[in-house]
Amino acid sequence: MSTYTERFKTPVSLSEKEFTYCPGCHHGIAHRLIAEVIDELNIQGKTIMVAPVGCSVFAYDFFDVDGTVAAHGRAPAVATGIKRARPQNIVFTYQGDGDLAAIGTAEIIHAANRGEKITTIFINNAIYGMTGGQMAPTTLLGMKTTTTPYGRDETKDGYPIRVSEVLKELRGVAFLARTKVTTPQDVLKTKKYIKKAFQAQINNIGFGLVEILSTCPTNWGLTPIESMKWLEENMVKEYPLGVFIDKVG
């Protein structure tokens, strides 16, 4: 008879495919949390994923659910089409900051404003990942990227966009929170938020979004440990954590 309890097993909603992300990248943690939530809510069989363009373009291969991949920035519109065609399904999008806050600004704002019954997981790592480290709308002031080699300058490049603060003014939003996954406590809190964002959809209340501050060690030019520290010391200041809207209760 076993003397220990198994506490850490692969969520059923994750496929057997190994993640292809760089060491220290937070996509893996975010994926796992989403899968655990899908398992716990018992919605795997009716969930449809809209994967993004960028590093996580293969996300639908990592989740054991039906899925498609949207053009850059268009995931909320694609998800809207799916959800309107099949309201009985659970639809979620997974988007990065270039995807959601630059080319897809219109789509996310209007989907949120319509109170579209979809869930969005928004990965904010302050940089373009797959295209090789260019400036994102969320890049911090002074931060060096391949297209801000002298540091982001607000007089030329404008200010970092605080997406959650923008979205919180929209009345269609049912759940909205910003979080991080750098400590075990953060991970547990993030999972709770993701669950609420899905619950907002399941309960037919409205649009749900969780913004997860994340690392990109490869394009930041830092080790995974240094990246976590940099996120804590710099990103959290620019992007305050917390729950902005919670109509789920």
Binding site: V50, F63, T68, A70, G81, A106
Partner: protein, 354 residues
Amino acid sequence: MEKTEKILVKGTEAIAEAAIRAGCRLYFGYPITPQSELTEYMARRLPEVNGTFLQAESEVAVVNMIYGAASTGKRVMTSTSSPGFSLMQEGISYIAGAELPCVFVNVVRGGPGLGDIQPAQSDYFQATKGGGHGDYKLVVLSPESLQEAVELTSHAFDVADKYRIPVLILTDGLLGQMMEPVSFPDFRNLDDLNDHSSWALIGTNNERAPHRVSSFDLDPVNLEKMNLNRHQKYKKITESEKLYEEYKLNDAEIVIVAYGTMGRIVKSVADKAREKGVKAGVFRPISLWPFPYEELEKWSKTAKLFFAVEMSSGQMIEDVKLSINGKRPVEFYGRMGGIVPTPGEILAKLMELI
């Protein structure tokens, strides 16, 4: 098909009603002249048949909503006019790549740019040669009357479903805005429509492996394979889905080639030419892709001259020339900017040519 009762309707509304009768219950759109009545008709009519209407924030969003809805396997459509259709090109490339069945309507107006809101045929290249990136094709159908528009709308959904391909109904503001008596087909039974459950995104229900709807593969060998398969399908469509009309061609020395609104007008040009002793006939492509190349080429054995007439600077004429391949001269007459040429001015040009 019940055809006894005729109703006087506007072009855009005829297409909308025909789509609903064909089983379309999802419409995503954005207003643009001269087709906004189609969007408005859907807003009013779809709730009556338990359908879904949504006015999106832009044509860019519309085409991606179409992508999403079509990926569930249901019958879905949108309509727009030239500048709006340009905005949809990104999504159309993705839809063609992901091989999703859906129907687009482009009520063409004068261009380029903002142009004007009058009828034109200047989107032919964009429609038939691929306005978006990558090697892909849309089935493109162009009606000459409202009755034909109704029939082609039903046909468009069937072709889209049969081949998993986007189908475009290419018309113009003249047809869109005119009124004609039309008889509508009966409502299709939704249960009889194509079963897309083998690939559509409807949830695994924990019973099968996940479905993937996508236009991409980062491995070039796999992507080429995907593209080759798609082109096999295009070949099959080319062999079986060509549509055209021949009018007084048997003894014709001059073959007037025109489509849509112009295809209708040039029939009276041919009649008037015959009154003057000039044997003219009309070849009217109805499917602009696949273009009826061989069917048109056939007439080069008997006719002396081909005469393309378009409301553009000359776009379809390139396909006419490809058909005739230098065997006979191909002349052109066209008006631009939203001007519909009169039968008289076309006849005058024709008489100059002989």
